[in-house]
Amino acid sequence: MNTQKLVGVGVFLIAVFGIVPWLISVTGRWDFYYTLTSVALLSIASAGVWLTFYIGRINIGQGAYALAGGYVSAILTTQAGFSFWATLPLAGLFCAGLSILIGLPILRLRGVYFAMVTLVLTEVGRLAALALPVTNGAKGITSIPLPGELSIFGLTLIPDFATLENPKLAFYLVAAFLMVICYAALYRIVNSRLGHLCRSLQQNEELSASIGVNTAYLRVLAYSISSFFGGIAGAMFVAISQSIYPSSFQVTDSVNFMLNCFLGGLGYVFGPMLGTLMLYFGWDLLFTAGRFQLLIYSSLLIILMLFLPNGVLSLFERKGGRK
């Protein structure tokens, strides 16, 4: 990693963990914590979708895994007495396992066929949550306790959220921390051999197989990592809203995860993060437009995709040369 990148990472971390909380406490806009926490979590789920794009698959099914992750966490905390912090990785692992089972057959599909199947997946998730007894149907699971204390060998890493006077800040910090970890992992994947092989899959699966890449294994691996991200994002969301319903993550959310990737740029690891931020704030800013909100919003998206097919981050590339 060169110094320029290190400085960039440093500035980003200071902005996220220092400047943002400081600005919010100065301006008193505490509601921004919720917004930014959402952005952080949504961008984790979007990062997963981005990874499936990276192996050449259009994934419109991330909502299903976010929902599954949310339910796993909710059920384990309310019915089995698990600590939320234990359910967070478990939700991710559950989704990764689930996605291996689902991915094995459907990852053989390509292009629009894969996209169609994943689109249906979100709807299947919603209907399953409605029908299963363990998810409590349409009533969902409510009054989920706030995350408790996380300590290792008597050392308190994270205090009990219920005792905090400002749980919003705590949620923001945890979500931002998770986001940083996930994107660091994603960056590492993309810039290691694993990423090169993913790109080889994206560009030509047949050739990949002929140079000895186990394409089926690699596709499932990438998809399960992607779903892991979806699962932990969903679980974290549930902890914040303290409730989950079959409609907590819907087809619209799945589509948004994909749009975040498109908007930020499919060629850039940090594309989905930027895309999520822009889409989320863009939508909120257009609130003043009243009933024209959706019309303006979607027109803007179409224009962006027409003129910046490689995402917003491609704007910077022309100036600075290839990254």
Binding site: R199, Q203, L207, S210, G212
Partner: protein, 260 residues
Amino acid sequence: MTPILQVKGVTKRFGGLTANNDISFDVAEREILSVIGPNGAGKSTLFKLIASFLRTTSGEVLLKGRRISNLAPHKVARLGVVRTFQETTIFRSMTVRENIIVAHHLRSKASLLGFFLGTKQARSDEAEFGASADEIIDFLGMGAIRDEFASNLPQGHLRALGMAIGLATNPTVLLLDEPFAGMNHDETMRMVANVRRLRDERGVTVLLVEHDMPAVMKISDRIVVINFGEKIAEGTPAEIQANEKVIEAYLGSEDAAIGM
């Protein structure tokens, strides 16, 4: 002459169409063998069967006596039989060097997790791949286009890149699908020399499908001729040129095409 690759009674049917019918021949170690035949004769199907991209209807392909037909393609590649493609199949949005480095996959000793964590083995693998890629680039005289994106390359270079990708896997048997197609005379001659050096300097056995008859006659130790999915002749270039069945298959203006 010990056969390294044996094709034994290979048959492939697509529904009612028989693309390959009971084809048998042996390939000796360090041999350059060409498969020729008119359009639609079933040459490419045969290649796909050998590299196990298609399943045989009956018959089998043996590598050093071990059956490789109907294994997964990546396993066949692992055993040393690697196919390059008829279409200019490359990784388009990677540079020449990146293409070749990725193709070193089979040589990696570190696991994918190792690469993710950047272990010592992974780093030494990466360094080795880079060095080996540079060596292949020099070997094929592609130094000038090392960092060019593959999507910007002209036909001739693409074919060379295809071969470089095949070479990076360290194959025992390399299957070249129309390596000279779309090349001018000079490029073809350079490529012919490269294929020879592959065999002479790296000990690779080469099997190729090609339409460019002068090149085939020049390069091949032996030739197998296929027509309507059946093998009609096998022999040295001189024998093939004199074979009546072959002349008949290439009737008319094709007399000139097989170099007579």
